[in-house]
Subunit: 141 residues, 2 copies
C-alpha cells in the first residue's frame, strides 16, 4: 500500500486532500499487516492532535468503498489491511492472544469442500481463525 498512489487515486476521484487525510493515509500505508481505526487515531493524533476519530472512521469507509482496504473481524473488533495484499488469514491464539498470518492459498481445499457440500463460497480472510498457537499447544500437553 503506497501513500502516494492512494492520494493520487483520491485526487482523481475529485476528493480534496486535507492535512488530516494525508496523515491518515500515510499512517495506514505505513502500517504492516493490519491496523485498527483506534491505532490510526492514536498515532495520527501524536502528530496532528486535533484529528478526530470520526474523521479516521470516515476515511476508512471511503478507502474501503474505493477498494483500497478491506476489513476483517478479529477478537477485539475490526481491523483493516490493504486490499491488494496477498490474501491471508488471521490466526489468533485463544490462549496468549498472539496473532499470525498465513497465506490464504492453503485454505483452497476447505473452500472446495464447503462449496461442494453447501454451495457456500467461503472467504477465510474476513474473520480471524481462532485456535492454539504452536507454543501454547505444546505447553498444554
Amino acid at each position: 500500500l503506497n501513500a502516494t498512489e492512494v492520494i493520487a487515486a483520491l485526487k482523481q476521484r475529485g476528493h480534496r486532500m486535507t492535512s488530516q487525510r494525508v496523515a491518515i493515509v500515510e499512517e495506514i500505508a505505513g502500517a504492516k499487516g493490519h491496523i485498527s481505526p483506534r491505532e490510526v487515531t492514536k498515532n495520527v493524533q501524536s502528530k496532528l492532535p486535533e484529528v478526530n476519530a470520526s474523521t479516521v472512521y470516515r476515511t476508512f469507509e471511503l478507502l474501503e468503498e474505493m477498494g483500497i482496504v478491506s476489513h476483517a473481524h478479529l477478537e477485539r473488533g475490526a481491523e483493516y489491511h490493504g486490499a491488494g495484499e496477498i490474501d491471508h488469514v488471521h490466526l489468533v491464539c485463544s490462549n496468549c492472544g498472539r496473532e499470525q498470518a498465513m497465506e490464504a492459498v492453503a485454505t483452497e481445499p476447505l473452500k472446495e469442500a464447503i462449496s461442494g457440500h453447501t454451495g457456500f463460497a467461503p472467504d477465510f480472510t474476513h474473520f480471524a481463525i481462532s485456535g492454539l498457537c504452536a507454543e501454547c499447544l505444546a505447553r498444554s500437553q
Copy 2:
C-alpha cells in the same frame, strides 16, 4: 440443551434458582442454534419486564464457565450455543446476511493443513466464516 438439566446442574453447584435465572435458562435452552445476549434480554423481558441485561450477561458468563454454552464471534458481536451440540461452523453470507451452520468435521483437512504448515491448531467454530451463499453467488454471475 435441556432447561431442566441445566437448572439441576446449577442447583448442584449450589446456585440459587431465581425466577429471572429460570426464565433466562429456558430462553437459552429453547433457542435453536445460537442466540445472542440481546435476543435473550428482549425475549425474557417480554415475560419478566424487570430483568436487566446485566443479569443476562452474568448468566451467560456462568453457563460458559460451567461448560454448558460456548460463544462464537459473528458479524454483529458474540452469540452463544450449547457446548454439547455437534461442533459446527457458522457460515454468514456477506451479501444477504443469511446464516447457516455446517458440521465442523468438514474442516478437518484444513485443520491438518494449517497445523502442518504453522503448528497452529485452529478452531473454526469460534469465528464465523464469511462468504457468499449459494443464492447470492448464483445471482452475482
